[in-house]
């Protein structure tokens, strides 16, 4: 198969602008992107830098952006992805590049994994025998921990795209593995920690991560699970972003009262009645909204006919964490 690899080259040491270099290759049927990269390094350009390890798509090492989509190079067949006998190969996005396809995972993902204190904080149990656990308690934790840390969910994350400091779906999925591990005693402590700014409440739940995860782990759903658990445990926010908890409480109170959302009230209560500066910040928007006849008047909105039933459902749900 005749194919041209258009590879983005860069070297942090020189700092020169990335450039695209083309390599014409004749590859056997069934060749993978990694085969192509090896062939380039061996036969055409020994300076090309990339990483690879397991060769079978189970270790997460050889992530690259191939034709604008994050892939594991070792199990991506050239024939399945080439367009007009061409493939583009770039480093994944939002990650500092060291050289060509070698990027700085420490700066991108490893430091975030470390930030969630990724080790079991055991809740005891006799050390000479295994924990007795039901399969149902383990299945989801096991699924989450099947993550091989390829970084592709973070690469697809819409928040990381604007804020590299966001903990991101991969680290939150790692955290999930401990929060829901029945052998871990630090669930609430972990949820508090994850609730601080740049943590789980910074997630926009855009569901990009689900689509980018090659393992079907559905990181976005894990984040929802963390949030739901956090709410059950009364955590709702960190110490440094209490507006998140106020926002949640106001939302619930509003729906409880009328069956639907009182947006005006939500805006005010999220800032907090005592937060004068925060409330003042709302003013220009409020004035504009008023001028356009679209200011939702706080506390004045009508209850829906079903409001009483809704209130009962919420109270019942709040009293019974699943």
């Amino acid at each position: 198969m005749q194919v041209t690899f258009k590879v983005t080259r860069y070297d942090r040491a020189t700092g020169e602008k990335p450039r695209v270099q083309s390599y014409a290759l004749d590859l056997p049927e069934g060749a993978t992107i990694l085969d192509g990269m090896m062939r380039i390094r061996e036969e055409q350009d020994p300076t090309l830098a990339f990483r690879a390890a397991c060769l079978r798509g189970v270790c997460g090492e050889c992530t690259m952006r191939v034709n604008k989509s994050g892939k594991l190079a070792c199990v991506t067949r050239v024939a399945s992805i080439a367009k007009n006998n061409e493939v583009t190969v770039e480093p994944i996005r939002y990650i500092p590049v060291i050289k060509d396809l070698v990027f700085d995972m420490e700066a991108f993902l490893w430091r975030k994994i470390k930030a969630v204190e990724p080790w079991l904080k055991p809740n005891g149990g006799a050390s000479d025998r295994e924990h007795v656990l039901r399969e149902e308690e383990l299945a989801e934790v096991r699924k989450a921990m099947s993550c091989y840390m390829c970084g592709l969910c973070d690469e697809g994350c819409t928040v990381i795209a604007v804020d590299g400091g966001f903990l991101g779906p991969a680290a939150l999925t790692k955290a999930y593995r401990f929060v829901f591990d029945p052998r871990d005693h630090a669930r609430v402590e972990r949820l508090r920690h994850l609730s601080e700014p740049k943590g789980m409440w910074d997630c926009t739940h855009c569901f990009e991560a689900n689509g980018h995860c090659p393992r079907g782990i559905n990181p976005t759903d894990r984040i929802f699970d963390l949030r739901d658990e956090s709410i059950r445990r009364g955590v709702k926010s960190g110490a440094a972003n209490q507006q998140v908890a106020r926002h949640y409480d106001s939302f619930v109170a509003s729906v409880k009262k009328s069956g639907w959302l009182d947006e005006g009230r939500l805006a005010i209560e999220s800032e907090g009645w005592t937060n004068v500066a925060g409330l003042l910040e709302l003013l220009p928007t409020a004035v504009k909204a008023l001028q356009r006849g679209k200011l939702p008047m706080p506390y004045l909105h009508r209850s829906r006919p079903g409001a009483e039933q809704i209130r009962r459902i919420i109270e019942r749900a709040e009293g019974k964490p699943s």
């Binding site: 069934g30 390094r41 020994p46 039901r134 921990m145």
Partner: protein, 558 residues
């Protein structure tokens, strides 16, 4: 002057290395874990099927007998005893660290039967056991605050005054060589199966530690014993996990016969791998294959079971063959998989070279004999990793900080510069590696004889000569993968030569070592290990008696 960086320097970030590092930390040692790939990319992640250990209340002796029988009585039974007695505790320890082993209906650890097991021995996490063990051990490494040097590649051991006192290592990020001093060094660099082509080895299973020890005149034991796996998917890295067979999948020939039933009526597809591989080869040679392959059939397990218990195998099979494990028969053929042999160590991972320890797949305690029982690889890694960590930490307390000059560092710098200078016009090391893989497969593969093995020995020697004149094509410096691959090939050549020499020496068939010209096992002459020692003209084969305790040699039948 080498800089003292640790009491215990562990080379290799797989299960054995991390387990050693964790234990050495527990003993209070300052530990550096150095690995040529990030620990989570280690080859342990490909050990899918399970980790053996007798269940609570079960007898470890049954595990031991299965191990010895699979090993065709070449095992050192003291090592087998240690492995099988300590594995259950090691598994429980992993459970307490947070591993997510599958449970049985009562909530206890479930076990599955793998090849060669008379009863279920292998704890498992679906078909990703190695993944979970690797990730859990890495969690513990982070907790232990051991220092990690990720992506550092060792080029030589620092040996001074008859003891190992550190390593020379290439920092891939900068391309610089460093002399790293340590009171003790633990090699846990994994196997060297990439001497064969194709193999299931990760890119880095190039025998680095085995060759480093060998170059430091540490003997290598049982190197002739090379395990092939029946479920290869035709190219490097391609393997359907043995978990498929453990879950009840069958192997068929072209005529729809379960050919394994003929060679092992009692176990069929759960016979040890060497038997299965030879049976598969016989089928293929008799023309009963389908396009040169046999068929792995998991369809009768049902889609649900395949999806829940074999999800990763399904992914891998799909990627390599385009087949759906749940819906299609999958073409499989034997593929080079593991070395049973390696750096000769005692039961605590100590090598004859003071200060040098080894554990896991690069080491040979004698536990595996002539065929590694499926599920014993991970057990070995954590049991002997822990022991090596303990012993290395204890040793480190008894020795002073390394002294010495920069002479070796300068030598290594010169050696690499010289190689780089040869690379521009010389022969391509890539071709050499391909030739080596083919040579080993053809002449020192599943079926061997003296003439072929002599060709293998001569052939590897010739490749060594050509290698000495070759060099990597790249410029050196940061992340020069070609340079690393070139240095790795140097290690693999040492390993290959040792395999061929030991295989030529052992004039009998035992376990994985099958000699067409000596088809029988011969206990009278060959109940002994080969020890390959480096000589001026290449490897020299010596011998060492096998430690036999309670399991007297019997005929091996299943």
């Amino acid at each position: 002057m080498p800089e003292l960086i640790a009491d215990v320097l562990v080379v290799g970030g797989g299960a054995a290395g991390m387990r050693a590092a964790i234990e050495a930390r527990k003993q209070g040692a300052e530990v550096v874990l150095l690995s040529k790939v990030h620990p989570l990319r280690s080859h342990t992640i490909t050990a899918h099927a399970g980790i053996n250990g007798a269940p609570a209340g079960g007898a470890w002796q049954a595990h031991a007998l299965d191990t010895v029988r699979a090993g065709d009585w070449l095992n050192d039974q003291d090592a087998v005893e240690v492995l099988c007695q300590e594995a259950p505790r090691a598994i429980i320890e992993l459970d307490h660290m947070g591993a997510l082993f599958n449970r049985d209906g009562q909530g206890h650890l479930d076990r599955r039967r793998l090849g060669g097991q008379s009863a279920p021995l292998a704890c498992y996490v679906n078909d990703m056991t190695g993944h979970y063990i690797l990730h859990v051990l890495y969690e513990q490494i982070l907790k232990s605050a051991a220092k990690c040097c990720d992506e550092w590649f060792v080029t030589a051991l620092l040996v001074d005054s008859g003891a190992c006192r550190g390593v020379i290592a290439l920092e891939l990020l900068t391309g610089k060589l460093h002399a790293l001093g340590a009171r003790a060094v633990v090699l846990a660099t994994g196997g060297g199966v990439r001497a064969y082509e194709p193999s299931t080895g990760s890119l880095g299973t190039t025998g680095d530690g085995v060759a480093l020890a060998y170059r430091a005149d540490v003997p290598l034991m049982d190197m002739e014993q090379v395990q092939f796996h029946p479920l290869g998917l035709g190219r490097n890295g391609g393997l359907a996990s043995e978990a498929t067979l453990g879950e009840g999948a069958h192997l068929f020939n072209k005529e729809g016969q379960r050919f394994a039933q003929a060679v092992a009526p009692g176990m069929a597809e759960l016979a040890p791998r060497d038997l299965l591989v030879r049976a598969a080869l016989a089928e293929l040679e008799a023309g009963r294959g389908v396009d040169g392959a046999l068929l792995l059939d998991a369809r009768h397990l049902g889609k649900d079971r395949v999806m829940t218990r074999l999800p990763q195998t399904r992914e891998v099979v799909k990627a390599f063959t385009g087949k759906d494990l749940a819906a299609d028969p999958v073409p499989v053929r034997p593929i080079a998989h593991r070395l049973m042999g390696g750096i000769h160590t005692d039961l605590n991972g100590a090598t004859p070279l003071p200060g040098l320890y080894a554990a896991g797949s690069c080491a040979s305690t004698g536990a595996h004999g002539a065929t590694r029982l499926g599920g014993n690889t991970l057990a070995e890694a954590v049991v002997f990793g822990r022991r090596a960590g303990t012993a290395a930490a204890a040793y480190a307390k008894t020795v002073a900080a390394p002294r010495g000059s920069d002479a070796l560092l300068k030598d290594e710098e010169r050696r690499i510069a010289l190689a780089l200078s040869k690379g521009k016009g010389g022969e391509s090391d890539v071709r050499l590696r391909e030739e080596l893989g083919r040579l080993m497969m053809e002449k020192a593969g599943i079926s061997r004889d003296a003439a072929g093995l002599q060709e293998a020995v001569r052939g590897v020697a010739a490749l060594q000569g050509r290698y000495a004149q070759a060099g990597p094509r790249g410029p050196g410096g940061a992340f020069d993968g070609g340079l690393v691959a070139f240095l790795e090939l140097g290690y693999t050549l040492e390993v290959a030569w040792a395999i061929a020499a030991a295989a030529l020496a052992r004039a009998e068939s035992r376990g994985a070592h099958w000699r067409r010209d000596h088809p029988e096992r011969n206990d009278a002459e060959w109940l002994r290990h080969t020890l390959v020692v480096r000589g001026a003209e290449g490897p020299r084969v010596e011998f060492r008696p096998v430690t036999v305790r309670q399991w007297r040699p019997e005929r091996r039948a299943y």
